[in-house]
Symmetry: C2
Subunit: 426 residues, 2 copies
């Protein structure tokens, strides 16, 4: 199915995919939750059974990418190992185990007219996921979308299209063998870039939501070209603020973990803010822990004065998502100063405060307007799995529909059901 | 403030409005709920006090519109009367009385990591409302947006711009005299159409949401040109389905009310579906009530056979939002047939079923995928006021963010607050 015929235009191929997705979405809206759960469990099992084949296909593609001179970080993201396949299998299990959101009553109320109202969750419909060469996204994204009762159209990076397709086949067989429509998940097989343009155009209204997952250039292209609604995040310029009332141990641990646990994730800290009132005490242990872990430190003028080894930070640094072992450091005047810096420079993704002062913490939690705000915890908890969503399709930094980790429930809509006894409006 | 200087470009004027709105939105996010309530109550009082002046300004504009040869329906929508001003005042009171959504905890949960999670409502930010010559929208839309803690930018139809401005002034004085930022509500005074283009461009990222309110051409333009997210509805092709198990009295009353109470609202029924199994009994009383009320009936072939006075319906009729005393009528095979017709032709706004059979009703309520689905009640209940939202800024037929009547709560976003005790991610 959906193999691109030589005589078929990309546009015709894509429109066919769109129409099939819409038809599948209509069926998906009312399939029993158990079927979705069983389908995802079956997919997990099949992936386990085909582990060796999938690894072989992946090894081939990895080799080709290395030969083409791809960067190490790129190659790393596309590489599968036994452990990474196990992660994919576990994620499928967790998504399968989530409550079925479809049909859930969100709110219930009555009116003096005698009408009874219910808001009931429904799937969104057809979701297109456009991602780079990360094979695990194929399964994560599709599983979350399907669990929420949607039909999904996947367009993955061309460098590991065969690996992604091998994983996808496991998923689709799981759907088909559990009574779900085969086209509830579709995979775009042509590497032709025109296919992305067609997806972004909305396939004649058949795409209800586009989710880009990948680097800045991909997301920027999707945001600028999409005619269908987009759920995405741009940068993750995340801040950690060490308050005058911080516990020094927590300050060190949380800063180190927020920056260095994994530097390439969007929830990694990029800027450290330190309260001037206790700078002399906080800076030395924090700086030494970071340096020991191999982190480059770029400081403002105040930091430069107390630490001659720090690299001067430029205005540009406050606006940069390094995704690397580099941290910019600014000294601020208390929580108000931290909030002002965040308001000016943050990408509204994730920010953390370290303090033992409850009042200061609450001022920060309520005053900062980002998708995720943490008190005494690492910014690297910005993750759907850690939030208990099973897995995530991404972290939304927009302000509409969903904000923060996007899991199963965030990929639903709702409808309004009204029950009467013959009411007419005066 | 914000008066367009002769030497100022529309672009500079609009960007200034955008920056002021963003600054006001930051303040609005944390103003006490009582201030917002008091501001809206003060605005209502001021409108009451200036009723005569406002009516005089409106009379002037109405006269000019008539002289320019505007249609009666257009003139009617822009005309204020004492009763209509009272409606505006009452709507303000109802919006003021709504619960303050900002800061409300939507959900609360904990994780094995020891982290405590809270989803907390926040305002969306800056909302632009673009509407036609209906002065009441000025107050309704602004009040709902402000109650939800947003800053709002209003662009009303030029034919009654002075009436709208007079109402707007009352609102803004209410804000300013109750400690809210004056620019929490701004009114675009220039009739220059380029101002709309600037608004749709998003004013340098300062517009978080655009809401068009008006006819098809306005909404189509906004949907095609907006760079900022849009919340809107297109057509309201609403259906009433009379099932074989319908109570005949309810069938007649609900059909008549759904179609004829007000024919120009988006919740008015445009197509009637009748179950073939009881057509002979249902049709005569329904047809005679509609004809008596002055409704033109256009029927499919089956209806034409049993009623020679019916006008033949064309394929186009099933796709038409008449907004007039015209009703298309199709005969269907039971609830499944009704659902198939709705799936094919509905604009996913509002549909109603009339039946005494609970099982049939539930099949319809859960199977139909529209923003609002009613059982034994008129489609004209598709209204934020009737839903208990105080008032509405419109009925959303999209599937993201909000669906159905958009009131105060629907104009909010949320953020994720996480409380820890020093957690770092392994």
């Amino acid at each position: 199915m959906n193999t691109l015929d030589k005589n078929m235009s990309v546009s015709a191929y894509m429109n066919d995919i769109g129409a099939k997705a819409r038809a599948a979405a209509r069926v998906m809206a009312s399939v029993p939750g158990e079927h979705k759960t069983a389908a995802l469990r079956a997919a997990a099992q099949t992936i386990g059974e085909r582990k060796d084949d999938i690894l072989a296909i992946n090894a081939h593609e990895v080799e080709a990418a290395i030969e083409r001179g791809q960067k190490a970080s790129f190659v790393d993201r596309m590489t599968l190992t036994r452990a990474r396949i196990d992660d994919i299998i576990n994620a499928l299990g967790e998504i399968a185990a989530q409550d079925d959101p479809v049909g859930k009553v969100i709110r219930k109320w009555s009116r003096p007219s005698g009408l009874d109202f219910e808001r009931v969750r429904t799937p969104i419909g057809v979701i297109a996921v456009i991602y780079e060469s990360r094979p695990n996204v194929t399964v994560d994204a599709a599983a979350i979308a399907v669990k929420a009762g949607n039909a999904v159209i996947l367009r993955g990076g061309s460098e590991c299209i065969s690996t992604s397709k091998a994983l996808f086949d496991c998923l689709q067989e799981g759907l088909a063998s559990n009574g779900l429509p085969e086209c509830a998940a579709q995979f775009i097989e042509t590497p032709d870039r025109a296919a992305v343009g067609e997806l972004l155009s909305g396939l004649d209204g058949h795409v209800d939501l586009v989710i880009p997952r990948g680097g800045k250039s991909l997301i920027a292209r999707v945001q600028s070209d999409a005619r269908a609604p987009v759920l995405s995040h741009l940068d993750g310029i995340c801040h950690v603020y060490l308050d005058r009332d911080a516990d020094i141990r927590k300050a060190v641990d949380i800063t180190l973990n927020s920056k260095m646990r994994r530097t390439g994730v969007c929830g990694a800290a990029e800027t450290l803010l330190i309260d001037r009132a206790r700078l002399d005490e906080i800076w030395p242990p924090v700086a030494s822990a970071l340096r020991e872990a191999g982190c480059e430190l770029r400081g403002d003028e105040t930091i430069q004065k107390i630490d001659s080894n720090v690299i001067p930070a430029s205005e540009e640094d406050w606006r940069t998502e390094y995704l690397a072992p580099i941290l910019s450091v600014a000294v601020v005047d208390g929580v108000a100063g931290a909030m002002a810096h965040i308001e000016k420079y943050s990408s509204a993704h994730t920010e953390a405060i370290v303090t033992e002062n409850q009042k200061t913490a609450e001022a920060f939690l309520f005053g900062v307007d980002s998708a995720i705000i943490l008190h005494n915890a690492s910014t690297q908890y910005a993750d759907g799995g850690e939030f208990g969503l099973g897995a995530e399709i991404g972290i939304a930094t927009g302000r509409l529909h969903a904000r923060g980790p996007v899991g199963v429930e965030e990929l639903t809509s709702y409808k309004n059901i009204v029950r009467g006894s013959g009411q007419v409006r005066p």
